[in-house]
């Protein structure tokens, strides 16, 4: 299994191919569309990431010490972004998830989504994922 750093590097490389923001967003939108559908049973209040504009659901499964994340959102861009997080952090050991600096977000130019004004709650998504990992240490 590739390490978190390897997957981040892979994503950074993919994003380097884009000349402008539009290609980048088109890619994120496509990632959102491709994200595996989250079963309705997981769309619970408990799995909802607090944020006011788009709704994001996040859940996880622990299989023999490696954590798999499942996510969904009603907004496509948010869904695309959460799919990147799922790709980076899924099937990793809890400690690696807790320690992940996730620098790729800034490198691929999505830093604006980390600002407190962004109601998509990227920060909350990361917190929630790390909290799952922490609980499984």
């Amino acid at each position: 299994m590739a390490s978190i750093q390897d997957i981040e590097a892979e994503i950074i490389e993919e994003f380097e191919l884009f000349d402008d923001w539009m290609q980048k967003y088109e890619y994120i939108i496509d990632l959102g569309k491709e994200l595996a559908v989250l079963d309705e049973q997981y769309k619970t209040e408990d799995n909802l990431v607090k944020g006011c504009q788009s709704r994001v659901w996040l859940t996880s499964q622990n299989t023999n010490g490696s954590i798999e994340f499942l996510a969904d959102s009603d907004a496509l861009i948010t869904k695309g972004i959460v799919s990147l997080l799922v790709r980076v952090l899924s099937n990793q050991a809890p400690q690696a998830i807790v320690d992940a600096p996730l620098n790729f977000i800034e490198t691929i130019g999505l830093k604006a989504h980390l600002s407190p004004n962004r109601a998509n709650g990227l920060v909350s998504m990361i917190k929630k994922m790390k909290a799952y990992a922490l609980a499984n240490l």
Binding site: M22, E26, I29, Q53, A75, L76, A119, N120
Partner: protein, 409 residues
């Protein structure tokens, strides 16, 4: 209609921010219902006050305290004139519409409302005209009643009539809906309320920048608005209250400026309007607000109204041509606000991509969750115009919106 009364180039040059580039594009600012931009004269007046004339006001005997007091109180006079209020002491400065509503709601909870009484609001209110009343009802044991709305985004006036009875102790209603732009028939509401001697509070936050308010003709008991939605600074608001009411209600906050004499045994309160203005006010903000009012009166609300009506018509027509787009709030009496949804697309996605073109719109529930619930949607995209916007900006917005929709489909 041509923009004949307004020299648009001149006006746009008064608002420096309109020349800014965002993400490589000229800013298109369509978030005026959230807050309007400020003409240069406003920031200049604030800077000048802080740099050259600053001092605390009221009771200082020195030069700048007197000068500041004079300037601050002159703005009260301007507001009185702006609203056509009868008395100067009916104008209370607050920090904004929310503070004004909370002041009245809290005073009513303490001085007026009793168990079994009723407070009437509407389904079209901003959270700021819902929550303070819920809190007042919790404190006093009064009951909150809500006037329904219709699918066109208007108040259900027959529902309103049904809610009228002698248990109702206050009606709090917005003049213009922030989420949909509907101009409510507050004249009708006030006159029916008057017949039963029920006081009416009007949340005028979304109205004052778009239409002329004559408070004596209206007969509202309270009227609240914010300076920042009227080309003035943030942190300044107005509470107009009828003198009889302001005299009857006890102070909201205690502190400096609102007292007459302080003794440990008993403190006596200052006269109106200072009775409701505890603490050092936003002096610079109020002085800046005075400049904004001056600016508005030079252009005239009538001209602003005409220019905005033109923009609203133009944008409504253009947006209606886009398939799958549905405008929420289609009253024939609207301020320059267009709230819309595009079938299957999340407003957040649309707003995020429009921002890449330098277009500022608002997305979400606009602090009106009950309206969104009524329409069974999570939110809308809201474009709100001001007189400094142009039809060229609307063309650009519509063109890019179509592109964005294509990207998201």
């Amino acid at each position: 209609m041509a923009d004949t009364q307004i020299n648009i180039e001149q006006i746009r040059s008064d608002f420096e921010i309109l020349n800014q580039k965002v993400n490589g594009h000229q800013l298109v600012y369509f978030d005026n219902a959230a807050s309007t931009q400020k003409p240069k004269v406003v920031s200049a007046a604030i800077a000048d006050f802080y740099n050259n004339e600053y001092s605390n006001i009221h009771r200082g005997v020195h030069h700048f305290s007197e000068l500041g007091t004079e300037k601050f109180e002159a703005v009260r006079g301007q507001v009185k004139h702006f609203l056509n209020a009868k008395y100067l002491e009916e104008i209370i400065f607050t920090s904004g519409t929310t503070a004004s509503i909370n002041l009245v709601a809290d005073c009513f909870a303490r001085d007026v409302l009793q168990k079994g009484d009723q407070v009437v609001i509407s389904h079209l209110e901003h959270h700021s005209n819902i929550v303070p009343w819920q809190m007042a009802c919790e404190k006093s044991g009064a009951e909150l009643k809500v006037i329904g709305m219709t699918s066109s985004g208007e108040l259900d006036y027959s529902d309103f009539e049904k809610l009228l009875n002698d248990k109702v102790k206050i009606i709090a209603i917005n003049h213009v809906s922030n989420a949909l732009g509907t101009i409510n028939d507050i004249e009708k509401i006030i006159s029916q309320a008057k017949a039963l001697n029920i006081p009416v509070l009007i949340d005028g936050a979304q109205a004052v920048a778009h239409l002329k308010v004559d408070i004596q003709a209206l007969g509202a008991d309270f009227y609240c608005f914010s300076a920042h939605k009227l080309f003035g600074p943030t942190g300044v608001g107005v509470l107009y209250g009828k003198k009889e009411w302001l005299e009857r209600l006890n102070p909201y906050m205690g502190g400096g400026d609102m007292i007459n004499e302080v003794r440990f045994e008993k403190t006596t309160y200052n006269d109106l309007p200072h009775k409701f203005e505890a603490g050092t006010p936003n002096i610079a903000g109020v002085i800046g607000f005075g400049k904004a009012l001056e600016y508005v009166s030079q252009i005239s609300i009538e001209n602003i109204k005409q220019a905005e009506a033109h923009l609203l018509d133009y944008a409504t027509k253009k947006l209606s041509e886009i398939g799958d787009l549905e405008i929420k709030g289609v009253s024939d009496k609207k301020a320059a606000v267009i709230s819309f949804v595009v079938n299957g697309l999340h407003p957040y996605d649309i707003g995020t991509l429009l921002n890449q073109y330098g277009i500022a719109v608002r997305t979400g529930h606009h602090c009106t969750q009950p309206i969104m619930e009524y329409f069974n949607i999570s939110g809308t995209v809201r474009a709100s115009f001001s007189f400094y916007n142009t039809t060229q900006e609307i063309d650009f917005f519509v063109e890019k919106l179509q592109k964005v929709i294509q990207m998201l489909k």
